[in-house]
Amino acid sequence: MLSAAVVRALGGLRSRPGATLAAAAGLVLAGVLAGTATTTGIALATGFDRAQRAAGTADVIARFDEVERDAAAARLSPLANVRSISYRIVVRPVDLAAFADGEVQFGTAEVNGVELEHADDGLALVAGRGLSGAPGEAVVERGLANEWGLEPGDPLRLADWVGRVVGVAVEPDNVAFPLAARPRVYLLDSDVRGDILRTGATAVNAAYLHLIAPDRLPETLVQARAASYGVTGLTFTTRAGVRALVDEAGGLVGGLLIAFAVVALLAAGAMLAAAGHARVTAEVGTIGALRALGFAPLGLAASYAIEAMLVALPAAAIGVTLGAFLVRGATADLLGGLNELAPPGPLWPAHAAAIAVIALLAGLAAGWPAFAAARRPVVATLRGRVVAPPRGPAATARPIVVGARLALARPGRLAVSAIAVAAAVATILLLLALARFLIDAQREPSAIGERYSLVARGRDALELARGTPGVAAAAERLQVRGVDGFDLAEPLTLVAFGPGGESVFAGRPLLEGRRARARNEVEVGRGLAQSLGLAPGGRLLALLEGGSEVRLRVTGVVQELGSDGRVAYTSLAALRAAAPGERPEVAVRAASGVAIAELADRLEARGLRVQRNAGLAPAGAPFVDTIVALLRVVALVTGLVCGAIVLLSLLVLARERAETIGIMRAAGARPAQIMALLTGASLALLAIALPLAYLLERVLFGPLVSGLVERYGALPLVPAPLDLALVVAAFLVVALLTAAATGRRLSRLAIVDLLRDV
């Protein structure tokens, strides 16, 4: 029976080359969606761990004020759980000049002086080689190499040090330049001391600790802090802390893209199911004939499944490869910005799995309805395609109404097609909402509650800013980094605004509890609340940079989109008391109608250093642009998939209703009227699918994605009216184009052929 099933399957493919090609085209698009989703999702989900493994990142990075290497070693080496330690002297800012691509470029860098025997500790080399001990060698971070076009062999100057680039590396303990303010350059510590610091002392200010038992990290951190007398400004960064640091820049969008991958795969699955089901239900008559010839229901199901899989395998392979290729560049850019490594090669196992899943889904989608049809009595099946009875007479014979009724006469199929289209459209709406939100959050700080456009620093900044024409309001803003007092591996940021703060900062949206009012009260971001198990009524104990500590009572949990949600808002008095050495900046709100650039010039003219408040992604415009580009590529691919579903459903309808179309043509229907009939059918589909898509986005996809990135709080992933209007307009065009294409094809067939069959 199996060989007969295969023979029928091959015959089915040969007999309908047009339908086979149409099905293949739909499967290619589903493959593109799956390839896009798997490439983006897997690369982002694994990029951090891959980079950490390749670099051999330390379990703990201790940073402190400069101290003699022997003094630091005397404190750290005796720790019980430490396997090895490397020390660095980190200097910033250092004037940097490089000659690359035929031009000299200037900037400032963070120079890391490393020990020769640990020269590659924490670095993953991506080009050239590491430091060998020879004079005049430098390794530069990949972000700098990409931005300036540097390659091994290019000359480099750092203050008085002159040498050449010998290697390019990634150090995944922070985001990359230009997301980070300064690029990192690695020299031998002796070069740093001799040519940059010009000192003979062997001072260090960072230690990279590799532990024997990484799971005993908290105890080691407590021991290290207890043993750190004489070492000032001590802070620890752990792997978890590094991940949090990196997440500050990319976690939100990375999480959103992974969530999208899940949603996109669901949409592809729904589309495959709809296509396969439609294909088989149009062939009920043939199934009846085959049953009459002795095919068993299971054999028939296998035959249709084999036929579908024979088309699906090559089509999905093409689609998945194409999808992976389409987003490879944007994904690599995104990973580059996060100092993470792209997968070493194509994700063959994941892509093979995606292809296999698509083929299996296609097989199931064709096999199951064939099985269901074959189980019906042979006589009933032999009557051929089931032209559904109408539900009451039509009010008019206008072609567009007739077309809608033809589509509505098969509510089951219409529902499956509508769900597939709705899933894809909802994905598009979600992507557009995300893209719009990211753009707003980057360019319009008010989107995340911030009313200030500029940040000014300098002596008497507050008075000077308030006295500048065009300033509507100004208030002090103090930001101090620290770690949780109980778990030193948990980084956090405390922020406070001075008097008049409410005029420049509206407060993050409150998710739980109430606003902080008293001096020792604090509102914590959702991410921090989740990490530390905090809730209103709880206590936050924070160890600040510099070693002081502050105890605060949690009154509320707020939505915090920046810094992985690990931010807490307290009073300026409390934060100042805890960190007296920290100098606040001034948040400046521009008066209505005043150009930000012009106001920045005015403040600078008063001797202040001014920065623009870049909202969610400080200094990260290219980064957010990359993500937005990625989201739009995926939205476009999803749109194509939608178009394919609409076309497929029309082709199936045309096959099933060939006789009706033939009758209408015999009665004098012109090609335009046949197109109107098909437009009516696709409008019926869209009339169900588009509202369903909006509901799906609001009720399911949006909350699902928000839930996957819950640490940031509730994201406002509501489609903008303009996006909604654009999507509706685009799909009306899709309906017209697909109806025109199908109608044109049907109008070219002889009426006798339509009346006979299609």
Binding site: P393, E659, S747, I751, V752
Partner: protein, 224 residues
């Protein structure tokens, strides 16, 4: 007898190609005038229906010409041919071919709607329903009608635009004797000084009522 309203010259329709090519209609010449009822008889597979399809413009001949009411149907755009067919040719199928989603009246109104002639066409269709005795069936769906009623609705549809030519392909083939007799009467009545009727039939009684009977055998048309 009026002027020729249908004129076919050297009409050939070949199915298949190469060694599998087979002429279904061979070198047919035919003239039908208004006011004339012509019956075409012949065994199954002789090419009667194919000839009728060519005369209706449902199919294009392999060679030869078809002219209906002064217009060539073997050439021209599909859009123009559809418009012409809607106004000038009515067709009755053996198996009725009613649109199952539309009620009887809407089925008959279909060509009227397609020609955007709804206001004038509506009264014509209502009158036809009265004349054909199916006024009570107007709001019923095809599935709720008997075979005879369905064929009358199909005839009403064919006459809705008052065509100059009415073509009927085995119109009584799916009907019992009494229903067939009724349909025959309707077709005879459809012959007017401004209209020609061509009927393909096995029904000797229907053929006998025709002014002219032609025989088709192996694609060749001859006078009886």
């Amino acid at each position: 007898m009026g002027d020729p309203v249908i004129s076919a010259r050297g009409l050939v329709r070949v199915h298949g190609s190469g060694s599998a090519a087979r002429a279904i209609v061979s070198d047919v010449d035919l003239d039908v005038a208004t006011g004339e009822l012509v019956a075409i008889v012949g065994p199954s597979g002789s090419g009667k229906s194919t000839l009728l399809h060519l005369l209706a413009g449902f199919d294009r001949p392999t060679s030869g010409t078809v002219t209906v009411a002064g217009r060539r149907l073997d050439s021209g755009s599909e859009s123009a041919r559809s418009r012409f067919r809607s106004a000038n040719i009515g067709f009755v199928f053996q198996s009725f071919r009613l649109v199952p989603e539309l009620d009887a009246f809407q089925n008959a109104m279909l060509p009227v709607r397609l020609a955007r002639d709804a206001s004038a066409g509506r009264s014509r269709v209502e009158e036809l329903f009265e004349r054909l005795g199916i006024a009570d069936c107007a709001r019923r769906l095809p599935s709720q009608l008997s075979g005879g009623e369905q064929q009358r609705v199909a005839i009403a549809r064919a006459l809705a635009m008052e065509p100059q030519v009415l073509l009927a392909d085995e119109p009584t083939g799916n009907l019992d004797e009494s229903s067939g007799a009724g349909v025959m009467g309707v077709l005879r009545a459809a012959v007017t000084p401004d209209r020609a009727v061509v009927v393909v039939t096995h029904d000797a009684a229907l053929a006998e009522g025709a002014a002219r009977i032609l025989r088709m055998r192996d694609g060749i048309l001859t006078a009886c």
